[in-house]
Symmetry: C2
């Protein structure tokens, strides 16, 4: 596998565009489109929140129907959640505008929204925006990047990634973009993410790979514990790489899944690091846990704890907060077995040793915690399962952003 | 029932004292004792965190053993959690010091700690402190207040309350004190709380009343979602009111339980309002839910959401965040039935109406949210159960406090 430049337009046959529709922001792009003239197999994972945005319902229908997918229209500014029938109608009208402009059935067009919950989309602006986007579609790397930037909300960093890998002698490309900075919590993909590939693969295996990879990547990040109404991760595979179609869990499938894992982990880590107000990436690695699920729950509890996040921000090796978070996670364990380390590019220090308190160097621990990624390594000494979760520190800036969000 | 002045020394037979032992703070009191020469029936509820502080284990043993309780020694500064055998030995030595000073069996003396996790208590200072406390015990209101203030950590307000009520023609008094500001989350009492009463009641009914009342009071508050290792709520009843001993769920029991509910709710609300960095009390009232448990879960999810808390701080009627929190709470419901209001002493405004978006006055909503208590009233229109949860807003100050806590 090789990492290459670009994002959603890296794979052959995929185009993208950006547009300033004036939905809520007046000074920036707020719409994007990804489009493949060749119909794609598609798969998706969506929020577990029972309050689902209209676009989540629409996309779920498409993914479940078995129909191909040609593209997705995305807007920032308004989430189209808690908007009733009028909200769902807006999804249909958006897809119909694509049908009119590009001649693909409206039932093959996904939509995705991010922004304020509880406002109706200005549908005229959206429909006009679809027209503008359709005219601007381009397969350049630049077009993918501009589309990715157009859907940022409180994100401070553009997040896209692309890779190539070889399947059955054919070079396959996969590119992706995602946004997400607040209202991020691991109960599905917790953000908007779009992956495009020219791989040829059955819909069933595309969905299987995506669902499995999500568990260890997007579902393992948290910024603020708030699971959004709009979380959507879509993958589209148009088959233009002309590899022998993957229809069983063979070697090709494994190769693809590894690449997918890389792409999703790369974006997930970057979303955590770009959490609202974050000054650093906060990683919890749990090793030697009894079960995989225990390891996941423990790792997520640690990166999800406000007190742990504040300690990471303050470079305070206050390890008790991490043990406390593990303790209320719901996993049963014996603290007499647990070892806890702080680790970063600046070094590694054990701070808790199976129920006892080792002498440790506070100054060194603080130095370790000053790095841009701080790892809390937790050895449960109780099995063989491991998991990693990613979060960020909690800063005054997070509060500022969220006390002011709509103003 | 009448509200009277005072706290843990309000009821006849209870004394208290405060002391500066220099455990961690150098400029303030950090130890307190509550003592009744007359042996008390006792009951308690403790943290659900699997990482339990040594003192929680010790007190649980006493409450379960059926032995009477004479008092409790409390310290602030160090939590005595994650401290292994040495930590448990410290509890025994503290209780033994009380036996030596006051002549009651050490097995009747509870201990409670709050502060940094993962440090050993300076046991010599604690033992000397017990000597000093024993000499200072007093039944004045002032003594109760000083004891209550001695165990504050990041609390900014002292929290005590006392009431009188009549049981079988006898006047009974009940007083209480509590501390808790950070690491507060409803999974038991989430703080230290001590209730004293001269009521005569069986141990079984004392525990029953406490366990039930906790569910609707201390377990319904949250500051930061972090369930402490040390949460302890103890009630001691010495029987000196000479009422006919309550041994069944009769009218007297109901009268007592009502008073207990008042005392616990009073303290719980004040703890939420005094949450670390809080500028206001944030109350979620869920009505007409399918089940009591649904109502509790929904109310707690709303006051526990960082995004909702930040919106309350910013006086931003961003009601979608509240619906979003309800949606990921784990309760299944239909947003088409839900009505949501903001309410305070400044007025009441409906902002969500069964899936549709009513026109509402943003300026008025902001005005409502400027009050010192903001209520989010949620009508599920789906049953008859209701519950109230209390939290606080999320401010920059919370982050400052917790990034610096140990320094």
């Amino acid at each position: 596998m090789e990492i290459i430049e670009g994002g959603v337009t890296a794979a052959k046959g995929f185009t993208a565009a950006n547009h300033a529709a004036g939905i809520k922001y007046t000074d920036r792009d707020d719409m994007a489109m990804i489009f493949s003239k060749t119909p794609c197999e598609c798969a998706g994972t969506f929020t577990s929140n029972v309050v689902k945005a209209a676009c989540v319902l629409w996309d779920t229908d498409i993914v479940k129907s078995g129909s191909p997918m040609h593209g997705v229209v995305i807007n920032a500014g308004i989430a189209n959640a808690c908007t009733g029938n009028e909200g769902f109608e807006a999804c249909i009208k958006t897809a119909e505008a694509v049908e009119e402009a590009l001649g693909v059935p409206y039932s093959t067009v996904a939509v995705a929204s991010t922004g304020v919950i509880g406002m109706q989309l200005p549908i005229d602006k959206i429909v006009n925006g679809v027209g503008a986007l359709s005219n601007k579609l381009s397969d350049t790397i630049e077009a993918g990047t501009m589309a990715s930037k157009a859907i940022m909300t409180t994100d401070t960093v553009n997040k896209e990634v692309a890779v190539t890998f070889t399947v059955g002698g054919k070079e396959v490309t996969m590119g992706a973009m995602s946004k997400g900075s607040g209202m991020i919590h691991p109960n599905m993909c917790t953000m908007l993410g779009f992956i495009t590939t020219n791989l040829s693969i059955s819909k069933k295996l595309l969905q299987k790979a995506l669902s499995e990879v999500v568990k260890d990547t997007f579902n393992m990040i948290t910024v603020d514990g708030d699971t959004s109404t709009n979380d959507t991760l879509l993958i589209m595979a148009n088959g233009l790489a002309e590899n022998k179609k993957i229809e069983s869990e063979n070697e090709d499938y494994v190769t693809f899944k590894e690449a997918l894992l890389y792409v999703c982990e790369n974006l997930a880590r970057r979303m955590a690091a770009d959490g609202e107000g974050a000054s650093k990436l906060f990683t919890a690695k749990v090793v030697n846990a009894k079960t995989k699920e225990d390891a996941r729950v423990l790792a997520r509890a640690v990166v999800g704890s406000n007190l742990s996040k504040a300690a990471i921000y303050g470079c305070d090796a206050n390890f008790g907060r991490f043990l406390c978070a593990m303790g209320y996670s719901g996993v049963d364990f014996d603290q007499e077995k647990v070892e806890l380390y702080f680790e970063s590019e600046n070094g590694k220090e054990k701070v808790f040793d199976k129920g006892s308190l080792p002498e440790f160097d506070e100054a060194k621990a603080a130095e370790i915690m000053k790095a841009s990624e701080v790892i809390v390594l937790i050895d449960m000494n109780d099995g063989k399962a491991s998991a990693t979760a990613w979060g960020c520190d909690l800063t005054e800036k997070y509060v500022e952003i969220n006390a002011d969000y709509r103003s």
